[in-house]
């Protein structure tokens, strides 16, 4: 902290939580540094690496203005290490990197520092980081679990309804409160607990979300068999205030490296300590769910896909990212290849990753245009709900496809509308 009370903060990580913290802390006049990567823009500007983070409403504008005002700088590692406060919002698989970083801080000198850990490393990680530092000279780690939702993250950081803080040191807490004063509107919304409890709470929340997703998918599959429209049921469920509307959208499975890894970690913990298979079941069913669009196609064509051509729209594990980690598309592509199907692929961002994964295969065509991809296909499978897929020209599609078969893995289309245009429409639990 310099003489006039401005805090010097270094933010580590390329997650949404990291960039939201950068933007908001800098906007309130703190000096914020991020590490300058070799890959960043030529002007040395600080930019998120993931398109889904860059797409966060308002984020880029805030970053640009912070930079213009001189509150945000991309600097070298060493410059960043000299900050007073270190904000860690790293990916769940980067605990080793975090530990290495904290070791460098510890070797840097006997000066007090505050480390805010917002990374999802699992239970006990913040304690492990604290153990690398010297608490007696005021080097403290606190845990501030990341509960941001994509699309509303800036608002949630700026005006949090409640904050969970894992902190066992009063001076560190005071410093955090000072840092968050512009946002938290006082301390009454802050729930204080130990670091482990905070991490456990994060685990518990994520597990609950996975259970909800697993449950709504199960319900959708049952609705399919019973002739009920899950869309109606889901609205009914959501109107009950005990349940709410979030995380109740059925689809062809959740993917992504972090979320899946995190649930696997929790499932492993349940299994090891409690012999409980609750979350294992959720994960297993999620794997099955990923193949659901394939099964709908398989059944449509009476268990014989030989000689067929199928177009896939959306390959990334979610819209806004180029990543195909644990994406349902991978399982669908594998299944189609094994059946000898010709597969045509389209995605606004993920095609290079898919190409890297599969290489040049005679059965796979990588298509730059979504309509070109559909030409002559015997079915269209929508797997990722990118904005550009929400309202395509169905008339054009109907003409391009050899067979008007559409499997909507994300329930983004209106079944009645599509059927009126002569499509065989299959959603997830849709009538």
């Amino acid at each position: 902290m310099d003489g006039n009370g401005t805090m010097r903060i270094a933010v580590w990580g390329d997650e949404l939580a990291a960039w939201v913290a950068v933007a908001q802390l800098a906007a309130f006049g703190n000096d914020v540094s991020v590490v300058r990567h070799s890959g960043t823009a030529a002007n040395g500007g600080a930019r998120p690496g993931q398109s889904s983070v860059r797409a966060e409403p308002g984020l880029m504008a805030l970053l640009e203005s912070a930079e213009a005002q001189g509150h945000l700088r991309a600097e070298s590692d060493d410059q960043c290490l000299a900050a007073d406060i270190h904000w860690l919002a790293m990916a769940p698989d980067e605990e080793d990197q975090a530990a290495a970083l904290v070791q460098r801080l510890a070797q840097g000198g006997k000066t007090p520092l505050l480390l805010v850990n917002q990374s999802n490393f699992g239970i006990g990680a913040s304690d492990r980081l604290q153990a690398l530092l010297d608490h007696d000279i005021g080097q403290a780690v606190l845990c501030l679990p990341d509960t941001l939702q994509q699309g509303r993250a800036l608002e949630q950081f700026g005006r949090p309804e409640r904050l969970l803080v894992g902190c066992e040191d009063s001076a560190a807490l005071a410093l955090l409160k000072a840092l968050l004063r512009p946002f938290s509107g006082g301390v009454q919304s802050l729930q204080l607990m130990t670091r482990r409890e905070a991490e456990f709470s994060k685990f518990a929340i994520t597990g609950m979300l996975a259970l909800r997703l697993g449950y709504i998918n199960e319900l959708a599959n049952l609705a399919d068999l019973l002739g009920v429209d899950i869309e109606v049921v889901r609205q009914g469920m959501g109107s009950d205030e005990r349940i709410g509307r979030h995380y109740l959208a059925p689809g062809c499975g959740f993917g992504g490296q972090h979320f899946t890894q995190y649930i696997e970690g929790l499932a492993g913990l349940f299994s090891e300590k409690r012999r409980s298979t609750l979350l294992d079941t959720v994960l297993l069913e999620n794997q099955r769910q990923m193949e659901l669009p394939f099964r709908k196609l398989w059944q449509h064509y009476a268990c014989d896909l030989s000689g067929k051509t199928v177009v896939l729209w959306g390959l990334a594990f979610k819209p806004g990212v180029a990543s195909i980690d644990n994406a349902p598309a991978l399982r669908i592509i594998d299944a189609l290849l094994a059946q000898g199907v010709q597969v045509r692929l389209h995605d606004p961002e993920a095609l290079p990753e898919v190409r890297e994964h599969y290489g040049e295969v005679a059965q796979l065509e990588y298509c730059a245009d979504k309509y070109d991809a559909a030409e002559g296909a015997d079915a269209l499978l929508l797997l990722t709900e990118w904005p550009e897929y929400w309202s395509p020209d169905f008339g054009r599609l109907a003409q391009l496809l050899r067979a008007k078969v559409l499997v909507d893995g994300r329930n983004i289309y209106d079944p009645a509308l599509l059927r009126a245009q002569g499509f065989d429409y299959y959603g997830i639990g849709r009538l």
């Binding site: 099955r288 394939f294 099964r295 059944q299 268990c303 014989d304 594998d334 299944a335």
Partner: protein
């Protein structure tokens, strides 16, 4: 020397030797060294047999007099050694490497053997990768092998024996075996299975085996009840036929694309090396299955090329000949000291008794000699608590085969290694007590009561494996296959047919007709059958 001379020489040798107890023979210096034989990691210990090193010479002379070398060559060359059915018995061709050649009736069979192995490997690969899809599109996760006899015993034995070699990708597939005609295994199994994810392998050389087709029909009906899809679709996605009669499998409804083939020159009880081994490959993976074949092939080469005096199958067979024909022993116990080999006794019961359980020679004459003994067995340590009493103190002479591996559970927990140590100790102890009797405890122990006495002198063979691996199992089974062949040559019988099982089938067909019809009392069989038919009719209240 002609064979009669060789027989007579051995008879007089036996007459001299009969009076000598095994405990005395075992006192001879150098006995183990002169009576143990090895091929690769497999050790054959004949030192607890009631014979001398020179007995082996006499037995080898008998084998030579019976033209064993000529017969071995005929077997490997694909001559019609199965004379009653006029065809070769080429299980050895099933394990030839792809580089080998073997012409049968002007055609090299090796390419088609390997083409079918490659097709089998593709199917295994699809199943292991979760890409064999059932009628809902879900991956198959359960495979049920429907077969009986050779289409059941070999694969089941090998799957149990090599369970721990299951590769990770095979863990997603559960393999079951169903054989019994009455459907009791299948009915219990179907209760637990999901039709959408279950695949049936219908294994039948002729594709007419009633036991197998009856089970397959029940499985097919189960699928039809579970799905509205046309039968043709269900059968094509949920059945694989493994057969030497492709047309019959097609008629049953299994398309060519879901078939694996083998040929009439493979006997059922010699068929686990063919595509009949599909459940084995599914369980242990294609690479391990290849190791199984390689182990058997290595034994084939040994059998074909090693001098008779060091030839393991020949020595094992001739020891049996000695016991049966010269020492008058007609019971043979198979005693693996390894729970993984639990199905080995049943497997060998079929292999030996269906092959050599015959009394007519190749030329149609009655055999002047006793042939195949009665075989039975059990996992050794369990049998100790069951029938060993008879081995030790009964009136029947019995020859025993102990099978055990030197190493097991390497790198696993200590208590398990201890359990293997315990099994090994028991194996050695039983072989010793059977041979020596009371003398095993040393002299001065003769003050025990009569019912505490052990007379000993029961001969046994120990087959020691280094470790039970796919390769070692392949060699072990090939050892017994060739042993059976050698004995058949000495007895002059054809080990590759099984006419003795035909009449029962014909008779069952007649009885089925009578049971199906309402007029059972009118049946005209023998008195006993008529009586039972009437009793059954009465118990069923006159309805059939």
């Amino acid at each position: 020397m002609n064979s009669d001379v060789a027989w007579r020489a051995l008879e007089s040798h036996a007459a001299e030797l009969k009076s000598r107890h095994l405990k005395d023979l075992l006192a001879d210096a150098g006995r183990f060294e002169s009576l143990n034989f090895a091929h690769e990691d497999l050790l054959l210990d004949l030192s607890r047999q009631r014979l001398l090193p020179q007995t082996v010479d006499g037995l080898v002379s008998l084998a030579r007099a019976c033209d064993l070398p000529g017969w071995i060559e005929a077997l490997f060359q694909g001559e019609a050694v199965n004379n009653t059915e006029q065809r070769p018995a080429l299980h050895t061709a099933l394990r030839l490497p792809a580089s080998g050649t073997l012409e049968v009736a002007g055609e090299d069979v090796v390419p088609k053997v390997h083409a079918n192995l490659a097709r089998m490997a593709q199917m295994v690969d699809l199943l292991h990768h979760g890409q064999w899809r059932g009628y809902t599109g879900e991956p198959i996760d359960t495979v049920v092998n429907i077969g009986v006899g050779g289409s059941d015993l070999g694969p089941m034995m090998a799957c149990k024996a090599l369970d721990e070699f299951e590769p990770e990708q095979a863990e997603s597939i559960e393999v079951h075996f169903v054989s019994s005609m009455d459907g009791s295994q299948l009915a219990a199994l179907l209760e637990q299975l999901n039709p959408a994810t279950t695949l049936f392998i219908v294994s039948s050389k002729s594709f007419t085996t009633i036991d197998t087709l009856a089970n397959a029909a029940t499985a097919r009906r189960w699928l039809q009840d579970a799905s509205d899809l046309p039968d043709e679709v269900l059968v094509s996605r949920h059945f694989i036929a493994v057969t030497a009669s492709p047309e019959k499998a097609c008629q049953w409804g299994i398309p060519d694309t879901s078939q694996l083939h083998f040929w009439d020159w493979t006997g059922g009880r010699y068929s686990m090396w063919s595509t009949i081994g599909l459940p084995i490959a599914l369980k242990i993976g294609t690479d391990n299955f290849q190791q199984l074949l390689a182990g058997a092939h290595s034994m084939d080469e040994h059998f074909r090329r090693a001098p008779l005096q060091q030839n393991l199958p020949v020595l094992l067979a001739m020891t049996g000949i000695w016991n049966i024909n010269f020492l008058d022993i007609h019971a043979h116990a198979i005693l693996p000291y390894d729970g993984r080999l639990a199905h080995l006794p049943a497997y060998l019961e079929q292999l030996e008794m269906e092959s050599n359980g015959k009394s007519v020679r190749r030329d149609g004459s009655a055999s002047p000699h006793r042939t195949c003994p009665v075989l039975w067995g059990e996992v050794g340590p369990n049998a100790q608590h069951a029938f060993y009493q008879l081995l030790h103190q009964g009136t029947e002479p019995v020859m025993c085969d102990f099978v055990v591996s030197a190493r097991r559970y390497t790198g696993q927990r200590e208590t398990l290694q201890r359990q293997h140590q315990l099994a090994l100790a028991n194996c050695l102890a039983q072989a010793r007590v059977l041979a020596l009797g009371d003398a095993a405890l040393g002299s001065g122990q003769d003050n025990s009561k009569p019912w505490q006495r052990y007379r000993g002198n029961q001969p046994s063979t120990v087959i020691l494996l280094d470790e039970l691996t796919p390769r070692a199992l392949g060699a072990l089974i090939a050892l017994y296959e060739h042993k059976v062949f050698v004995q058949s040559v000495i007895w002059g019988i054809n080990p590759f047919d099984q006419w003795g099982v035909e009449l029962g089938k014909t008779m069952a067909t007649q009885l089925l007709e009578v049971l199906d019809s309402a007029d059972q009392p009118g049946a005209a069989f023998d008195q006993a059958t008529n009586g039972l038919l009437a009793a059954i009719g009465a118990r069923r209240g006159g309805t059939s």
